[in-house]
């Protein structure tokens, strides 16, 4: 099932939640909508599900107009951030719900429903919880039951709204891997919303980065990380150093001092220079594009995180390998291994 979204606009009062969004999702894809809160990603997901209606634009499934159908007719599996399990029903009845509410003409008999629910509970590896109630389950278990419930109706599309947002870090990591292998197994077109970049990069085939109701970049996890299309994407994904620079006639300068950085003869005026923290290489003073004094050093697992006051007046944080120890008070040279400059 391919999903096509054209020029979607949604306004809540004076707030533009979606501001002209175009997106095509290929059949069988696992797509991540990534962005900060308020970027419109959940609104987009809810409109695709039929839980919200756009003020303008089109949504089509395999070329047919989805907006002509209600949520009920779209056959979309939706997994909510807070699970939304039916609290008065057992796990078994939760999963069976979608099968039991089908119109009488197409409803399966009880034995078929039981077999199907059993199959789904096996799929999410929780068949031993069938008689429990949602309040007796852990967060991770609830989320897997919510997924089994959504899959019961054999959805054409699976939508997940911050599926792991309410879980603790360890469970979240396990479920990520599990979701990816589950998607591999059932291969239904899936979109999940997240504000966690690591989650998006690790799980999805393609990542859509959103901000302020617009799509900033669509690409593979490698694309959005290695070649961010906009200043926002660079700043949002990965830990970046952001410096306000000027670019005139191929010369990049920070606070009026030219830096030894190539800018291919460009003139952009006021710009932003982005460097990943770990791409800032430490060398002896005078060796790099920047000079600075180390203010403060902390060890963060495999790297040492140093606060460096640049001679231009800015203070930045870098992640340096721990083979050469930095000390507060050291004067060092810094050279970016890779960097990107965005106008504006």
């Amino acid at each position: 099932m391919t999903i096509e979204v054209k020029n979607l606009v949604k306004i809540f009062g004076s707030f533009k939640a979606l501001d002209g969004v175009d997106l095509t999702v290929d059949s069988g894809e696992l797509l991540a909508l990534l962005g900060p809160s308020g970027s419109g990603k959940t609104t987009l997901l809810r409109i695709i599900a039929g839980l919200d209606w756009p003020d303008a634009g089109e949504v089509s499934f395999n070329g047919e107009d989805a907006l002509a159908q209600g949520a009920r007719e779209r056959h979309v599996g939706f997994v909510f951030q807070h699970y939304a399990l039916f609290r008065h029903m057992s796990v078994f009845e939760n999963v069976a719900f979608g099968l039991r509410v089908q119109p009488r003409a197409v409803r399966k008999d009880e034995a078929t429903i039981r077999a199907r629910v059993k199959e789904l509970l096996d799929l999410v590896q929780l068949d031993w919880l069938a008689d429990r109630y949602p309040s007796q389950l852990s967060g991770g278990q609830r989320q897997r039951i919510a997924l089994a419930r959504a899959l019961a109706i054999e959805p054409r599309i699976l939508l997940l709204d911050e599926p792991f947002g309410a879980l603790d870090a360890k469970v979240r990591k396990e479920l990520r891997k599990w979701l990816r292998s589950l998607h591999h197994e059932i291969n239904v077109t899936s979109i999940f919303v997240t504000h966690d970049q690591e989650e998006a990069l690790e799980v999805a085939n393609r990542v859509v980065v959103m901000d302020k109701g617009r799509i900033e970049q669509i690409g593979s996890p490698d694309d959005v990380y290695e070649t961010p299309a906009t200043a926002f994407v660079h700043g949002f994904i990965g830990e970046s150093i952001e410096l306000p620079v000027r670019v005139e006639g191929g010369v990049v300068s920070l606070n009026g001092r030219p830096l030894r950085l190539a800018a291919e003869g460009l003139t952009l005026g006021a710009s932003k220079l982005f460097v990943r923290r770990h791409d800032m290489l430490v060398g002896p003073p005078g060796s790099g594009a920047f000079e600075g004094a180390v203010q403060h050093v902390r060890n963060c697992g495999p790297v040492q995180r140093a606060e460096v006051a640049l001679s231009g007046g800015e203070t930045i944080e870098i992640d340096a390998p721990r083979d050469r120890e930095l000390r507060a008070g050291d004067t060092i040279g810094l050279n970016p291994r890779r960097y990107r400059i965005f106008a504006g």
Partner: protein
């Protein structure tokens, strides 16, 4: 780590003493001296005895003052039986109406956003803030002989005032906040996600309501119905205005109690009053049970 543990072990006994002192001081802060405590508790008990327990006991003492036979005879009077029947009928009508109204109003307010929502919430509380006598008078103004619909009703030979419909209407008006009030906060807290989940799973509106919404609020519904019923059976002011006090026809139990008392038929008056008192006691017990259910049934997700 090991150093810290060793430290705390070697310090443990003096530290424990200091901690015990600190705890005692803290307890003293929160606990009044014994004399003050005894005085306050005695005052509270004395007050409750005089103002709550004694009246309740007196109702039953008076009712049974001429023996159990007199009590039963008083209740078996045709006038008493008629009042009991009328009260039950009126309560049944107004509870049913308010159940439907309360469900619809709470559903609309908790699950949807629409202009005038705050106004509707305020309007629901109106019967609580208006004196019941005025509630009754409003119906006289509407349906009375000189009233707004009075002549039309007379032309069509429809009797509302001084008859069952008028009593039921006044009672319904006075008791209509109970169910809605019990449900609105409950439904607001539960949100709309379960309903959204149900619809995305293919459930129709009715299926969603009966399979998801209603089971989630059933204890709240019972709670509202219980309070609504208690008030409907006990309502005096509004009913007194619209009833007309036709003996054996339009007297509800509270009205009959007053009439019998005015006629110095104390045993009969208190016999009926004792029924209302029992209703109150049963309501209290049921209310306690339901409140426990409502607390226990709360969502523990968040």
């Amino acid at each position: 780590m090991t150093m810290q543990i060793a430290d705390s072990v070697s310090l443990s006994s003096p530290e424990a003493k200091a901690r015990a002192h600190a705890a005692a001081a803290r307890n003293n802060l929160r606990t009044e001296p014994r004399a003050v405590r005894v005085t306050i508790i005695s005052l509270a008990i004395a007050f409750l005895t005089v103002f709550v327990v004694m009246p309740l006991v007196l109702v039953f003492a008076q009712a049974f003052s001429k023996g159990i036979m007199a009590y039963i005879t008083a209740l078996a009077e045709p006038e008493a039986l008629a009042a009991i029947k009328l009260t039950l009928l009126v309560a049944a009508i107004s509870v049913t109406l308010n159940l439907v109204f309360g469900l619809v109003a709470a559903w609309a307010i908790a699950k949807f956003d629409f202009p005038g929502k705050t106004f509707l919430i305020t309007l629901i509380d109106l019967p609580f803030s208006v004196s019941p006598v005025i509630s009754g008078l409003v119906f006289v103004l509407l349906f009375g002989a000189q009233g707004y619909f009075g002549s039309w009703l007379r032309d069509h030979d429809i009797q509302i005032l001084f008859a069952v419909p008028g009593i039921a209407l006044a009672t319904t008006f006075v008791t209509f906040p109970f169910v809605a009030r019990a449900l609105i906060p409950l439904m607001q807290e539960q949100g709309t996600q379960e309903e959204e989940a149900a619809i995305s799973l293919g459930a129709s509106g009715l299926q969603t309501f009966f399979r998801v919404t209603l089971p989630n609020i059933k204890w709240g519904v019972l709670y509202g119905v219980l309070l609504c019923n208690a008030r409907a059976m006990g309502e005096f002011g509004a009913v007194s205005v619209v009833s007309g006090h036709v003996r054996g026809e339009t007297n509800t139990m509270p009205l009959l109690v007053e009439i019998l008392y005015d006629e110095y038929q104390f045993v009969a008056a208190f016999a009926i009053a004792s029924l209302l008192a029992m209703l109150a006691l049963i309501t209290l017990v049921a209310k306690t049970v339901l409140e426990r259910r409502l607390d226990g049934g709360e969502d523990r997700d968040h």
